[in-house]
Amino acid sequence: MENKEVRIKLEHISKKFKIGTKKKESFLGKILNLTLGVESKKEFFVLNDVSFEVKAGEIIGIIGKNGAGKSTLLRVIAGIYTSDSGILKTNGRVVYLSGFGSGLKTKLTMAENIFLIGSLMGLSQKDLRNKFDEIVEFSGLKEYVNTKVYQFSDGMVSRLNFSIGIHCLLHKNPEILLIDEVFGGGGDIDFQKKAIAKMEELIKCGASVIIVSHSLDTIKKYCDKALLLEKGKIVLEDVPERVVGSYLIR
């Protein structure tokens, strides 16, 4: 591990969220704010002086209670949020994955959805046409390609979501993969198995991976190292077994 390049490096990253006591987001409210002075806002640290690094091919797990700052940390690394202080260096294509299927339009057909979600995930129309058959095949919904998604059962929807998401990710071949609370794809047992095999393929293809999960078994099974996050701080960094053990007695 020593000579491998560092893909993600965080040095003293901090992030504050401001929470207003009263919501004043209307047009009139803003004007009142200007004339009466801005109301005081409560600030708190979501991330407080976080430093660690991830090398190529390494899989890191992050555990912690709700609100510990796990998702915020991933979003900062992904560039969706910006940190208030500290230095973040990432080297390679970053993909942030939080659940499959945030954007299916139920009034569009399955084929139209594949093109829509695929282009949101950054694939060109040409790439999508090449991938189309594979996505349909994997989802096992071949006969419903031209059916509108609102007529799908929940299981079918999650299979479609997973299939689009995973194939687009594999196509982008990310060097840095940030997985937020997703492992597997819903659906029945058979699909679940297929989905987990696909996920394993994804995380083992040499990318640096950070997994945030409440499933401690997942962390233990796949990760080389784990971090325990509490109130925005890293309180423990060790092999997964020990971190999980420590988390359970807290």
């Binding site: 987001e25 979003r75 942030y96 945030s102 954007g103 009034k107 569009l108 093109f115 282009s119 995930m121």
Partner: protein
């Protein structure tokens, strides 16, 4: 460096187009009249204003139907483009919070839809011009005026989409402003002096509509001053819009 920004621009435009396509399909979903809805709204407005012609304006205008319709559809482009931009970031917050997408695409896709309906309206305009025996030669100049108008609206949309993140009810406020703007633009009337004329002069849309009428309907090349004003307005607005948008876009994920 140049190749990088070229690819980025290509990515942004490609995504904008896909989004606009999906929106277009969603809008016409399960509707028998389909794309005719795009035309019905301006057509009815046109017919009503034409019917009220003698009440609304006492001047006789040559080729009044074309004069009215061109003003109407250019204003509509502005109206639809800007109104859709006020809510575009918050209505796509699901994507913005979870994916590192180019946020410009959401703004551009709204404008693309407005442009799409505008193209249909242009077809009606052409039939109207043929009916009124107006030479179609002036149409050659329209792409330039249209291009500048689109740049102007795009700049405006960037400003509004950023403000919309901070101000929840901007859409309501903006539609009131658009109505004010509607009456201060010479769409169904002509003003050559007085307060109204002054109001027209400080309204950016006036210059675009005026130039388009000059070249399309009356076959005269619009004055040099008009062109300078149009170019300046559109570039200045685009610049301001881009600056405001880029200064704030990193905060969208937290606020939307």
């Amino acid at each position: 460096m140049i190749k990088g920004s070229y690819n980025k621009l290509k990515g942004i435009l490609g995504l904008s187009l896909s989004l606009a396509k999906a929106q277009f399909k969603l809008r016409n979903e399960g509707s028998y009249l389909g794309i005719f809805w795009y035309l019905l709204d301006p057509l009815f407005m046109f017919l009503i204003l034409l019917f009220l012609r003698n009440v609304l304006t006492n001047k006789s205008v040559e080729y009044y139907p074309a004069y009215l319709f061109l003003g109407l559809i250019m204003f509509n482009l502005f109206r639809h483009g800007t109104i859709s931009s006020t809510k575009v970031i918050s209505s796509n917050s699901g994507f913005i919070k979870t994916m590192n997408v180019n946020k410009e695409s959401f703004v551009i896709s709204g404008l693309l839809q407005a442009i799409f309906s505008h193209l249909f309206e242009i077809i009606i305009l052409i039939s109207l011009m043929i009916y009124l025996n107006i030479s179609l030669f002036g149409l050659l100049f329209y792409p330039f005026i249209f291009g500048l108008l689109v740049i102007f609206i795009l700049g405006f949309s960037f400003i509004l989409s950023t403000l919309g993140v901070y101000i929840n009810d901007l859409a309501n406020v903006w539609s009131v402003f658009v109505n004010l703007l509607w009456f201060s633009t010479p769409i169904y009337y002509v003003a050559t002096k007085g307060n109204i004329h002054f109001l027209n002069k400080i309204n950016p849309l006036f210059y675009f509509i005026d130039s388009a009428r000059d070249s399309l309907i009356y076959g005269t090349f619009s004055s040099f001053d008009n062109w300078i004003i149009m170019i300046t307005i559109s570039l200045v607005f685009l610049l301001i819009g881009l600056i405001i948008f880029y200064k704030n876009k990193n905060k969208f994920a937290e606020l939307a």
